[in-house]
Symmetry: C2
Subunit: 356 residues, 2 copies
């Protein structure tokens, strides 16, 4: 069976301001320091198991030009433009009907475009195993991440360690972001994984589940599939997509479906959730600084400094995030990284759209 | 007797980097937030007692164009260009011979171009009184500043409270920058003033003292005076000035001369020694921030933020100095303000002259 991939690249993340903008979200940024963007790295990572022509990118239509520019070898018809953001379920449905249109049935890996993975070959092995399991029956496979610490910012997957299929375990249930105490319990039981938002299934399996649990969306998706390649394609997509409820695949399908398996991954996954992640994904120097661009540091330590052309002189700083961009510079105490969104709120209130 | 002024504007201060540069020192910057530069404020302040045509500016020849631009009403011949920096004594000597050339003898106020004064009318009163005293005999008058706190960064003037002439006291001696303990003693005795580097005397008095205590410099100055207005003027200035020893007027004259008087000034003097001074000379907001330019602050306090066109977003900051310029941004903990010079040393070592 053909292996295909749907890369979800419609996010508008604000947490990498001022580098990320409405017009240039995180997946199109290079954050590793090697020049390649998150979406480029995502594609490179899976090329050992899927051909470029079988990779589909679901994104907001505003980003079509960016996808074309950053992935020039991708066939243009593989860029699926969402007329409006409707969370992951409609996005995955749109991918599924396009793949089904091309191959009738195929294996479909669903991957976010803005995460990093350290050990690619291990990741590819997990995906292969997931494909093997997803090919059987109507299995839905989700890639879980073995937690290192009691993170409270992710959802968790509870699996049943006594029911396994190859390297996968049967999933008991999906749980929302826990409190710290609950997260600590999860870590101790060793029966919980982080929900990474990576899935593998057949298009037939996911569409069948949509028919069961998201009937209206399914009906709309059928109309969209029928219109592919016709003159009405854009019009139908526009109309149907706008009518879909905004729903995550976790809530819409995974929490309700049968035959869900998870493979615990230990391939160095990182969702790169904020500028603080830069310390994890880049090398710090002997003073604990991560420095990039035109920067001079004097007696500064534990800082993340993303310079650009303009010279930044950092004197006597500690635990600071500094990010320069063409028209804006962020200077933020590490412990206030969560407040970067307040800058954007302020900019919105003041109608300073050029900075958003 | 004619009242004239010599404004010393040859300094190359590094402490206001990145706004101040070799090509744009502190006296040509606006630091008060009202748009007028330090030298412009200096001139405005004395216009009630001296005509524009009687104000002379001694500066490095590199800054002649800047002086012309910032003081368009000043006669061009009043800009005296030092071919090389030789500290204050030769600079004052050059001013004195130019004034003596124009008026034979005249009162000469010598003022730095990069200090601020809060109460201008009080300052003008002190200058008038200084002129009155300087007109008598060969009196040399220096304006002292009544200290508020035991500053260790300034020289002090010890006066004799029992010998006074009008509002002036006889000076016992000039003392170098003291230790903190010594500075505290000075403050307690109430017989010490800060040495502000502001003087009033007749050109005949200062030149006579130069003849007594700086004979070689005096001889050179005579040659310079003779050449004023001739074809050889530039050549003679070049040759003689380069041969002068680099010497302050304090060390070269004031510590040795007779009949020195000081007037204690309480007119809100500030030498604006570093970015930290901005807090004293500008209004802070309710969070203790001094903010200027295109800046957004979120949960930040006690910061000095000098923005420019580029947006600066300050998030969760405390006690930081941020200064943006066209090609460089300084971010500095307040307590490390003294280390700004290390940035310049680093730039020099790396031959990055464009930033110096």
């Amino acid at each position: 069976m053909k292996t295909t991939a749907l890369i979800m690249a419609g996010g508008r993340g604000e947490r990498f301001w001022p580098r990320s903008r409405k017009s240039l979200p995180k997946q199109f940024l290079s954050l590793t320091g090697d020049g390649r963007t998150m979406i480029q790295l995502t594609i490179e990572r899976i090329l050992p198991i899927v051909a470029m022509e079988d990779i589909f990118i679901a994104t907001n239509r505003d980003y079509k030009a960016l996808v074309k520019k950053q992935l020039p070898e991708l066939p243009e018809e593989n860029i699926l433009c969402e007329p409006i953001g409707r969370n992951t379920a409609p996005c995955i449905g749109l991918g599924a009907v396009h793949i089904a249109h091309k191959y009738e049935d195929a294996l479909m890996m669903v991957l976010p475009s803005d995460h990093l993975i350290k050990y690619n070959s291990m990741f590819v092995k997990v995906l292969k195993e997931a494909c093997r399991i997803a090919e059987e029956n109507m299995n839905l496979v989700t890639i879980g991440i073995t937690p290192d610490y009691p993170e409270t910012g992710y959802g968790y997957i509870k699996f049943n360690p006594s029911i396994c299929k190859g390297q996968a375990f049967a999933v008991d249930r999906f749980v929302e972001k826990p409190s710290l105490e609950v997260a600590k319990e999860y870590l101790e039981t060793e029966e919980y994984l982080w929900n990474s938002g990576m899935f593998v299934w057949k298009t037939s399996s996911i569409l069948k589940n949509m028919e069961l649990f998201m009937k209206d969306t399914y009906m709309g998706l059928q109309k969209i599939q029928t219109a592919i390649g016709t003159e009405e394609e854009t019009q139908v997509l526009e109309t149907e997509f706008a009518a879909f409820p905004s729903q995550s695949v976790d809530y819409g399908i995974m929490e309700k479906a049968e035959s869900i398996y998870t493979i615990p991954g230990t391939f160095g996954w990182d969702d790169v959730g904020s500028w603080l992640a830069v310390e994890r994904i880049r090398k710090t120097n002997e003073l604990g600084n991560v420095v990039n661009g035109n920067v001079i540091t004097i007696n500064s330590k534990n800082c993340i400094i993303e310079g650009s052309k303009k010279l930044i002189a950092a004197v006597g700083l500690d635990d600071l995030i500094v990010v320069d961009s063409e028209d804006a510079t962020l200077i933020c105490e590490k412990r206030s990284a969560g407040d970067i969104k307040k800058v954007l709120e302020n900019l919105k209130i003041c109608n300073r759209e050029e900075y958003i």
